[in-house]
């Protein structure tokens, strides 16, 4: 089965900022450049605005500069992270950062969970 690039969608609560199909893209999404298609549409039931992002056809090939730069290995991770950050910027005005410096150390025991957590900032469902 050929895997179609999937639309990653999330909903932004409009209370703070107005977002219309003609608005400039929030910065984290604009940063993905022309590697992605973006749709902005009104959400059902006045839930706000839906932001949908999909990898452009062919963009997975290594020549696509924007994706390689932003995504590291997996462009879907970059899309999900950019969507989350865009939503946080629009809703709260900033992107929430984890505590720093950490109180934990990288030990053999901690390593697997630390990797899962780093992944957790990008992957997952939206």
């Amino acid at each position: 089965m050929r895997r179609e690039p999937r639309w990653h969608v999330l909903t932004v609560n409009p209370a703070r900022d107005e977002l219309t199909p003609d608005s400039p893209l929030p910065e984290p999404l604009a940063g993905l450049g022309d590697a992605v298609d973006v749709q902005i549409r009104r959400a059902a039931g006045d839930r706000g605005v839906e932001l949908a992002v999909r990898l452009r056809d062919g963009a997975q090939s290594p020549v696509t500069e924007g994706v390689r730069r932003l995504a590291g290995r997996d462009p879907n991770q970059a899309i999900r992270a950019a969507l989350r950050e865009a939503k946080q910027l629009l809703e709260t005005g900033e992107v929430l950062h984890p505590d720093f410096p950490p109180t934990t150390q990288t030990t053999v025991v901690n390593k697997p969970l630390q990797m899962a957590t780093r992944q957790g900032r990008r992957e997952g469902r939206l």
């Binding site: 209370a15 703070r16 939503k87 984890p98 505590d99 030990t107 901690n110 630390q114």
Partner: protein, 391 residues
């Protein structure tokens, strides 16, 4: 600074860690004055929530003084005495605006972990593992509080530190159970678990107009405490017949609202305890839902059951038949504290809600491992151990 660190399953230490720093413009840094143990910590300590790293700071029920605020913090200034909700919520997403603060979309920096286990991610919580954001906990000299205007509440002068501390977690959790469980004037309400959370749920039921409130546990000291400070009845499941008593005390109808404040390490006198313990140890079941099963079984037809106790994942032998055929409403949630804390502080100021009796053992932070041992094993009548990092 000094902090209480999780070092492994059932292993704690007090050690030096770097001070927290401001990471966002809406952050505040709080100097912790009092920080309490909570039943939720026991699930982390025992390894039932496998997302702790060696070196993580525990603790999420706390009160302190603001020592630094970010440029976007409007409500607080340096020197304010604040109690902080244990959940991290942004105040602006759709869930926050529905007052379902613990479901905040923007409070957890690692949402993928819980999205994978549960389908969607709730908000973050201090000292509650990397699944709930990996935020450092409050058993430390200082703590970073994100979205400080949302999560930190100035304590009125009339309310002591000892009382206000529990407006952070136990009191709003209990209140939510009674409120969202739908307690109405004249109801008969049964509460499983007489820890800090169950006691606060029972008191909330009284204040919301319930006519009879019955709290269930096996520790006589906790039951006596509930009778004395909350004005409720008690039931000892080790020496009394819970089903028979509940029927008798509710005119044969069964309680209208059943609140479960026990969680996944529930204890029982019957053979099912062994069954659940073995399955949990073998990782065939992650949680032991004994009190939840009982609450569902004893609830009246058409009644409501609210789960305040924390569950991580899967349970066994869940009484779906009773739930469905009796037409019950089952709900649960992590606490939506932001919704209740201002009201609770007012009630504390008026003397309607007393909480300081929960703090049975107060000690310096250095003694926290000992405090957890007493709290976990319910030694010396410990209901909540409270640590004072400045002492």
């Amino acid at each position: 600074m000094k902090a209480l660190l999780w070092q492994g399953v059932n292993e704690l230490s007090v050690d030096e860690v770097p001070d927290p720093t401001m990471r966002n413009e809406q952050d505040a840094i709080i100097r912790v004055r009092k920080t309490a143990t909570c039943g939720s910590d026991l699930h982390l300590l025992g390894g039932y929530i496998p997302f702790m790293e060696r070196g993580d700071v525990l603790g999420h029920e706390f009160l302190g003084e603001v020592v630094e605020v970010g440029p976007q913090v409007r409500k607080h200034k340096v020197g304010d005495r604040v109690v902080v909700c244990s959940f991290v919520s942004c105040g602006h997403c759709w869930y926050c605006q529905q007052q379902q603060y613990s479901l905040c979309d923007n409070g957890n920096t690692n949402p993928a972990i819980t999205e994978s286990i549960w389908g969607f991610a709730p908000g973050g919580c201090y000292g509650y593992s990397h699944a709930l954001g990996g935020f450092a906990g409050s058993h430390a000299e200082y703590i970073r509080v994100p979205y400080a205007d949302q999560g930190a509440f100035t304590v009125p002068d009339e309310v002591s530190d000892e009382r206000a501390l529990f407006a952070s977690d136990a009191a709003p959790t209990g209140w939510m159970g009674a409120d969202l469980g739908g307690v109405k004037a004249g109801d008969v309400v049964a509460v499983w678990g007489a820890g800090g959370v169950g006691q606060m749920a029972a008191r909330a039921a009284v204040l919301l107009g319930a006519e009879r409130v019955i709290i269930i546990d096996r520790f006589a000291n906790r039951l006596q405490m509930a009778e004395k400070y909350l004005g409720v009845e008690s039931l000892n499941y080790q020496t009394q017949d819970v089903g028979g008593e509940l029927l008798e005390r509710s005119g044969g109808r069964g309680p209208d609202v059943c609140i479960e404040a026990v969680g996944m390490e529930s204890h029982s006198t019957g053979p099912q305890y062994l069954y659940d313990q073995v399955k949990q140890q073998l990782r065939l079941e992650s949680d032991r839902p004994i009190a939840a099963r009982e609450a569902i079984y004893h609830c009246r037809k058409g009644g409501s059951v609210f789960l305040l106790g924390v569950y991580a994942n899967l349970v066994d032998k869940f009484p779906l038949g009773a739930l469905m055929n009796k037409g019950l409403t089952l709900r649960g949630a992590q606490q939506h504290g932001h919704r209740y804390i201002p009201m609770l502080l007012e009630r504390m100021a008026r003397g309607e809600l007393v909480t300081e009796h929960l703090a049975t053992h107060t000690m310096p932070l250095d003694e926290a491992p000992h405090g957890y041992n007493m709290f976990k094993n319910k030694l010396d009548g410990c209901v909540r151990a409270v640590f004072e990092p400045a002492r």
